[in-house]
């Protein structure tokens, strides 16, 4: 045990983990965050606290992570390289250490073109692989990228994202390998709808020897309607809703599609649990956190330890 987080303990002991995306709203109201946390606490092993997801301003991931810690819900603090340079990112990591945050998740972040401030200047001083490397340096040897040492920095359990559906597949595995070599402990994928394609990616990752070095969490996304499924498929690059899923959603009347979406998602979770090389599920509920408890219940993957 390095970082000593709940997530690390679960994954390193070979148990199956459930995490979910906590998207902080643009609020200064602590009560709102606390109410949102009720959908996660006791249901998931840890919650990813998004860092201005979709380039839309929300409360700071570092601060919200601390609120969740206070509530007894383990946070995974997200950091994106879009908005902050290496000085600010490392400063946030030191802040996270001070606050007792033990999990961090490193991504580049969605381009600001898609957010609520498309006219903003972006940063991209470093990329996600380099951020993973920076966290590792700070965590393992107390060293900043600039070379200076830091005292008493807590260790971090480090996550990164991967795209199992990009083309060509070889390049996607190459990208995964870079993240693992940079020091990622766990990977959360892009949303999975096509289990066969995802399974192929996991197999390739295993053949490359990457699965032994990091834990793979498959991301699932419950769909609300056939219309939403089509919109996600068409507009969100990196996410492909499979034909099977679309057909099932279209097969029921509109008022029942949300329930069908949950059912499909729960079934996918069960199937992913059985997939060799998959060590957990990450739920991305796209602004519908209230479905998380029901979804987990439906999937039969309730984790006793999380409830304790």
């Amino acid at each position: 045990m390095k970082a000593g987080s709940n997530l690390e303990r679960i994954l390193k002991s070979g148990q199956f983990a459930i995490t979910a995306e906590f998207v902080p709203p643009a609020t200064g109201d602590r009560e709102l965050i606390e109410r949102q946390a009720l959908y996660f606490k006791g249901h998931v092993d840890a919650a990813n606290v998004a860092d201005n997801m979709g380039a839309v301003v929300g409360a700071a991931s570092c601060a919200v992570s601390k609120v969740l810690l206070d509530l007894g819900l383990e946070p995974i603090m997200s950091l994106v390289t879009r908005d902050r340079n290496r000085i600010a990112l490392q400063s946030d990591l030191l802040g996270a250490s001070l606050l007792g945050i033990r999990n961090v998740f490193c991504t580049t972040g969605d381009h600001q073109k898609f957010g609520d401030h498309p006219e903003a200047l972006n940063v991209y001083d470093i990329d996600s692989v380099q951020l993973v490397n920076a966290v590792r340096g700070l965590s393992d040897s107390g060293k900043l990228l600039g070379g200076a040492g830091c005292d008493k920095v807590g260790s971090f359990f480090v996550g990164a994202a991967a795209d199992p559906f990009g083309e060509p597949a070889d390049l996607m595995i190459l990208c995964l390998g870079q993240k693992v070599r940079a020091g990622a402990d766990f990977i959360q994928s892009q949303p999975v709808f096509d289990l066969e394609k995802f399974g192929h990616w996991v197999r390739l990752a295993r053949e490359e020897g990457l699965i032994e070095k990091c834990s793979i969490l498959a991301t699932v996304m419950p769909l609300r309607s056939a219309r939403e499924a089509r919109a996600i498929h068409e507009e969100r690059r990196g996410v492909e809703v499979s034909r099977d899923v679309m057909t099932r959603l279209e097969g029921v009347l509109e008022p029942e599609q949300a329930q069908e979406g949950l059912k499909i998602c729960a079934e996918q979770m069960q199937a992913l649990k059985e997939m060799k090389g998959v060590q957990g599920i990450h739920i991305m509920s796209a602004g519908r956190e209230e479905v998380i408890p029901e979804l987990i219940k439906k999937s039969g993957l309730e984790t006793a330890r999380a409830k304790g």
Binding site: R82, H111, S128, V129, L171, L174, C175, R181, R237, G238
Partner: protein
């Protein structure tokens, strides 16, 4: 070369409000090649501005002149005589933004305004289409990427492969633009150098970029 594009007439007319005698200066360098500020474009723009001002009921006198290069102080000197003799109240420069700045520093009694938006360092893709190829980071490393620049041609400047926004070989930020990582990977594969891409690249040193302050190149071997 520097790629530039003419500003909308409406914006130029707003800049010229209150000025009745103006010199419009073109440049025979990059902006001639990209059809933004050469002799021909200066002529067309001057006519358009004259017509628009006549319609507004306040005619404007615009003289035209195109210098060999506006990014060279020696050529800027050619403006001294006309500015002294003709009594212009404003100079409108149809060059990249080096030109109007040189003019502004040289002549302290006339207003200076840009006729163009300086866009980027780029090249021609096809007739009347130009694309960005270089961000002038000041420390070229394209040999590590099959001769293609991810710093400039990836919308996030990624050094370790594409983001999830790459789809069908295109970039989500500008779907008409190729995902450079798609091209880099294909090329490295053709060169048999995919292994080279697996290496982790250290955080880039941006001090040779604008981050290091306003830049200057000194060639001591060429000083007189």
């Amino acid at each position: 070369m520097i790629i530039a594009e003419r500003k909308p007439i409406k914006e130029l007319l707003e800049m010229l409000a209150g000025h009745d005698k103006v010199l419009l200066v073109g440049c025979k360098g990059c902006v001639t090649v990209c059809n933004a500020g050469g002799v021909k474009e200066v002529g067309v723009l001057a006519s358009a501005l004259r017509i628009a001002r006549r319609r507004q009921g306040r005619p404007i006198e615009i003289d035209e002149m195109t210098l060999d290069r506006q990014c060279e102080p020696e050529f800027i000197s050619w403006l001294e005589e006309p500015i002294r003799e003709k009594g212009y109240t404003a100079i409108m420069s149809a060059a990249c933004s080096v030109g109007p700045q040189y003019i502004a520093e040289r002549f302290d009694k006339v207003a200076v305004m840009p006729a163009l938006n300086t866009k980027f360092i780029g090249g021609t893709l096809e007739h009347e289409v130009w694309a960005e190829f270089c961000r002038a980071c000041g420390n070229c490393g394209i040999h590590n990427f099959g001769g293609l620049c991810p710093i400039t041609r990836c919308s996030k400047g990624l050094l370790h492969g594409p983001c999830a926004g790459s789809s069908g070989g295109k970039c989500e930020v500008r779907p008409e633009v190729d995902c450079i990582w798609h091209l880099i990977y294909t090329r490295m594969k053709n060169l048999g150098q995919v292994e080279k891409l697996k290496a982790l690249k250290p955080a880039k040193d941006w001090s040779s970029y604008w981050s290091g302050g306003v830049r200057r190149v000194v060639r001591e071997d060429l000083t007189l």
